[in-house]
C-alpha cells in the first residue's frame, strides 16, 4: 500500500514536465484560451511520437513501449495540466488503437497501428455510436450493416458524433442482424468507416454555445468492403463495453477545466478579495477546500483504476464510480468560480474588457452540463456501481 509515486514514476513525471515546458511554448500554434484538453496540433503529436509517448502501453510488436497504465496516467495528467494539444491523435490512441489491437484483423493492425503511433496523416476518428433512439440504451441502435457479397451495406442515422465533420474515419456500431426480435447486444458489429465513402451525409448540430462539435451522420446505402469489420460479427456491443471502461478511467474527465481551478487558486492566493464581505471569504474558502478534496480523491481514483488495469483486475465498477465523481467535481468547480467572481463572471468574450479571466468562467459554466452526460450519464454509472460493484440485482 503506497499512494505516492515511487522513484521511477517520479523520474518519469519530471521527464514529461521538462519535455512539455520546452515543447509547448515552441509550438507554432496559439492555444485556444478556452480549449483545455481538446486542442489539436499534428506537430505536437509528432513530437510526442518521437518520444515514443503515443502508444505507451501498447505491445512492442505494434510499436508500443509496453509500459503500464499508471505510467500512461502520469503522462496524461501532465499533458492535461500543461494544456497540451493532443486532439490530433487522442481518439486513435485512446480508443481505436487498443480496440484494433484487441479485436482487429491482421491487415488493420499492419495498416493503422504504425500510422497512429507515428502520428501520420489521416488518423483522426470520430465515434458513431449514439442514435436518436439509442442514447444511454446503446443496444437499441437501428442503423444496419447488411452483408452483401464482399461488402456491407449501411443504412441509418447517428447523432452526437463529435468531430465527425473534421475526422478521417468513423468508428461505427451497426446492427449486422436486422431481425428486430434479436436483442441488440448480440446483433451489432463494429466497423472502421472512411468518412469519404459515398452515401454519407454529415450535418452540424450546434451546442448550447453555438459551437459546432456535434453532428448528425446519415448513411444512405453506404457500401464498405467486408475487411472493415472489426472483430467478430454480432459481438460489437461486447467489444464496445470493454472499451468504455478505458474511456471512463481517463483523467481528462477530472481535469478538462483545470485552468479554472488554477485561476481560482491563484485568485485566492493573491488575496484579491481579502477585504470583501467576511461571509463570502469564509464561504469561498470552504467551497474551495471541498473542491481540493474532491480533486485529490478523483485523481487517486484515476490512478487506482490504472493500477487495476495493470494488475488485470475488473475495472467496470471502479471506472464508473471514478467518472461519476470526477464529472460532478468539474460541474461544481465551474459553479464555484462563477459565485466567487459574482455577476462579473457572466461577462463573455475574450475582447470584453469587463470579463474577468477573459470570460473563461462563463464559458466553462456553459460547458458544464455535458460533463455528467458524455461517456455515460451519472445515473447509468451509478447503476453500474450498484449492479457490477455491489452486486445488487437487476430489475
Amino acid at each position: 500500500m503506497r499512494f505516492t509515486f515511487n522513484a521511477e514514476q517520479e523520474a518519469f513525471r519530471r521527464e514529461v514536465v521538462a519535455f512539455l515546458e520546452k515543447e509547448i511554448p515552441a509550438l507554432d500554434i496559439e492555444l485556444d484560451k478556452y480549449e483545455m484538453a481538446g486542442g489539436s496540433s499534428r506537430e505536437f503529436s509528432r513530437k510526442l511520437a518521437e518520444k515514443k509517448w503515443i502508444g505507451l502501453t501498447w505491445p512492442k510488436e505494434y510499436g508500443g513501449s509496453e509500459r503500464g497504465y499508471v505510467d500512461k496516467m502520469i503522462l496524461s495528467e501532465q499533458l492535461i495540466r500543461h494544456r497540451a494539444p493532443t486532439g490530433y491523435h487522442f481518439a486513435a490512441e485512446r480508443q481505436i488503437g487498443p480496440a484494433i489491437i484487441k479485436f482487429g484483423a491482421q491487415w488493420q493492425k499492419d495498416y493503422f497501428l504504425p500510422r497512429f503511433i507515428n502520428a501520420e496523416d489521416n488518423i483522426t476518428f470520430c465515434l458513431l455510436f449514439s442514435e436518436p433512439d439509442a442514447g444511454s440504451d446503446l443496444a437499441a441502435i437501428k442503423t444496419t450493416a447488411i452483408p452483401e457479397g464482399d461488402h456491407y451495406v449501411i443504412n441509418g442515422q447517428k447523432v452526437w458524433s463529435s468531430g465527425a465533420h473534421s475526422s478521417d474515419y468513423g468508428w461505427l456500431l451497426a446492427r449486422t442482424n436486422p431481425d428486430p426480435t434479436v436483442p441488440g447486444h448480440i446483433a451489432c458489429s463494429e466497423f472502421i468507416l472512411d468518412l469519404k465513402t459515398p452515401g454519407i451525409t454529415i450535418r452540424p448540430i450546434l451546442n448550447i454555445m453555438g459551437e459546432h462539435h456535434f453532428n448528425e451522420v446519415f448513411f444512405d446505402t453506404v457500401r464498405i468492403d467486408k475487411k472493415y469489420l472489426v472483430g467478430r460479427e454480432n459481438e460489437g456491443f461486447k467489444q464496445i463495453v470493454a472499451q468504455l471502461d478505458y474511456e471512463r478511467a481517463g483523467i481528462e474527465r477530472l481535469m478538462q477545466n483545470h485552468l479554472v481551478y488554477e485561476r481560482l487558486k491563484s485568485y485566492l492566493r493573491e488575496g484579491e478579495f481579502a477585504d470583501e464581505d467576511p461571509g463570502l471569504v469564509y464561504w469561498i474558502k470552504d467551497a474551495f477546500a471541498r473542491l481540493e478534496t474532491e480533486l485529490t480523491i478523483g485523481r487517486l481514483l484515476c490512478y487506482q483504476t490504472a493500477w487495476m488495469i495493470d494488475h488485470r483486475k475488473q475495472i467496470s465498477s471502479q471506472a464508473a464510480l471514478c467518472k461519476a465523481l470526477c464529472s460532478q467535481y468539474e460541474h461544481r468547480l465551474n459553479d464555484v468560480a462563477t459565485r466567487l467572481l459574482g455577476a462579473s463572471s457572466l461577462m463573455m468574450g475574450e475582447e470584453n474588457p469587463y470579463a474577468p479571466w477573459e470570460g473563461l468562467v462563463a464559458q466553462s459554466y456553459l460547458h458544464s452540463p455535458s460533463y455528467t452526460l458524455q461517456g455515460g450519464a451519472v445515473e447509468i454509472l451509478k447503476n453500474i456501481v450498484a449492479q457490477r460493484g455491489l452486486k445488487l440485482p437487476r430489475a
Binding site: F3, K265, A289, G389, L392
Partner: protein
C-alpha cells in the same frame, strides 16, 4: 504506487477481524457500554496479550519493521466492530503524546506501561465547552509552597477516566505556558464522573480541585505541552479516521446486504434504481474515504508531512460517514430504528466522531491554511 495492502498486511487484518468477530459481537458491545467500567477488562487483557497497545505505540516508526499502516488497519477493524475500550485514548492519544515528549524528559517508562496494557492512560484535553484547549489550557497549575504544583480545572469528554490509572492534562503554568502533567487518578482532589452522551462509549467529566502533582510529573519540558500535542495530532486524527472508515465499511456492507434480502412488492428492494443510487452514493463516499485516509497514511508511513492530507481525510470522512449512516437508516426502515438492530450504534459513532478532533468545516479551514490560501 500500490493500491493494495500486502499479503502480510492482509493477514494482520484477518487476525484482528477474527479476534473481534469472536470476542465482541454487538450484543456484548451493548452490554459493555452499560457495565461498571464501560469495557471488558477480560478482553482488554487479551488485546494486551496480542500486543495491540505495543503495535500502536510502535507504529510511529521509531523501530525497524514497524509501520503506521499496521495501526491504521487495526483501527479500521476496531471501527468495524465498535469495540469499546481505552485503546485509542491510552495507546494512541496518550502513547503518542508521551512518545513525542520523551526526548525531552521522562516518558519512556510510562510508555512501557501503556504497551504492556498494565496501566491505562487517558488524555484530558477538552474544556467545558468541549474544545481542545492544549495551547491555552483552561486548567491552572500553581506552585505549591512545599514544591510541586496544584492543578485546578474541569475537563470534559475524558474517555475512561473512571478506570484509568493516569490522566495527561495540559495546564497553564503561571509564567511557564502550557505544560503537560501526568496525574494519578487516585490523587486527592481528582473526581471522574461518567456522563451520558449521544454515543455511549465511556466518557467522564473530570474535576481537578487543587490536585497536587510533583515537578517530576511534568511530561517533557515545562511550557512545551501544547507543542507535543500538536505534533502528534495529525497521526491521532488519522487513526480516528481509520476507525471511522471501518464503521463506514460496516454500514455499507450491512445496508447493501439488507436491500438484497429485504423483499417488498414481491421483489428485493435492491432492484429499485433509487435504492441502487443510494448504495452507489455510499460506495462513492466510502471510496473517497479510503483514498484520503490511505494517502495521508502513506505519507506518514514515509515519514513525510501529511497535515494537508489528514485535514482532507477528516473533512471527507466526517461528512461521508455521517451521510452513510443517514442512508443506512433510510434504507433499513423501521427495523433500523430499534434498540436491537446495530446500525444506531454507528449512527451515534459517526456523529460523535464527526465532532471530535475537529469537524469537516474545521478541517477544510485547516486545509486552506496548509495550502497557504
Amino acid at each position: 504506487m500500490d493500491f493494495e495492502f500486502s499479503s502480510e498486511q492482509e493477514m494482520l487484518r484477518k487476525s484482528f477481524s477474527n479476534f473481534l468477530d469472536k470476542e465482541c459481537g454487538h450484543d456484548l458491545v451493548k452490554e459493555w457500554y452499560k457495565n461498571e467500567k464501560g469495557y471488558s477488562p477480560a478482553v482488554w487483557k487479551k488485546m494486551a496479550g496480542l500486543g495491540w497497545m505495543e503495535l500502536i505505540c510502535e507504529s510511529l516508526g521509531n523501530k525497524e519493521g514497524t509501520s503506521f499502516l499496521d495501526a491504521v488497519i487495526l483501527f479500521e477493524e476496531l471501527g468495524r466492530a465498535l469495540l469499546p475500550s481505552p485503546l485509542f485514548t491510552s495507546a494512541a492519544v496518550a502513547g503518542f503524546i508521551l512518545s513525542q515528549a520523551s526526548d525531552e524528559g521522562p516518558g519512556g517508562k510510562d510508555i512501557a506501561e501503556i504497551m504492556s496494557g498494565k496501566k491505562i492512560y487517558t488524555a484530558a484535553l477538552m474544556n467545558e465547552r468541549g474544545e481542545l484547549d492544549h495551547n491555552r489550557p483552561g486548567v491552572s497549575a500553581v506552585s505549591d509552597q512545599n514544591g510541586g504544583y496544584r492543578l485546578s480545572g474541569t475537563r470534559l469528554f475524558v474517555p475512561y477516566a473512571d478506570s484509568a490509572d493516569f490522566l495527561l492534562v495540559c495546564a497553564d503554568l503561571k509564567n511557564g505556558g502550557p505544560t503537560l502533567f501526568r496525574v494519578k487518578t487516585d490523587s486527592v482532589g481528582v473526581t471522574a464522573c461518567p456522563v451520558e452522551t449521544l454515543y455511549p462509549e465511556r466518557k467522564c467529566v473530570v474535576k481537578l480541585d487543587h490536585t497536587f502533582v510533583d515537578s517530576s510529573d511534568i511530561v517533557g519540558k515545562a511550557g512545551n505541552g501544547g507543542q507535543y500535542v500538536d505534533a502528534v495530532m495529525g497521526k491521532i486524527t488519522l487513526l480516528k479516521c481509520s476507525e471511522m472508515l471501518g464503521g463506514m465499511s460496516f454500514i455499507l456492507n450491512t445496508t447493501v446486504q439488507y436491500v438484497k434480502d429485504r423483499c417488498q412488492f414481491g421483489k428485493p428492494l435492491g432492484v429499485l434504481q433509487t435504492i441502487q443510487h443510494y448504495c452507489a452514493d455510499m460506495a462513492t463516499l466510502y471510496e473517497g474515504a479510503r483514498m484520503t485516509n490511505y494517502l495521508a497514511a502513506s505519507l506518514i508511513d514515509d515519514g513525510l508531512s501529511a497535515e494537508k492530507e489528514v485535514a482532507m481525510a477528516k473533512a471527507w470522512i466526517s461528512d461521508g460517514y455521517k451521510k452513510c449512516t443517514w442512508i443506512s437508516h433510510q434504507l433499513h426502515g423501521a427495523i433500523g430504528y430499534t434498540e436491537e438492530y446495530p446500525i444506531h450504534l454507528y449512527y451515534r459513532h459517526a456523529k460523535e466522531n464527526e465532532l471530535m478532533l475537529g469537524d469537516a468545516r474545521y478541517h477544510r479551514w485547516k486545509l486552506m491554511e496548509r495550502m497557504g490560501l
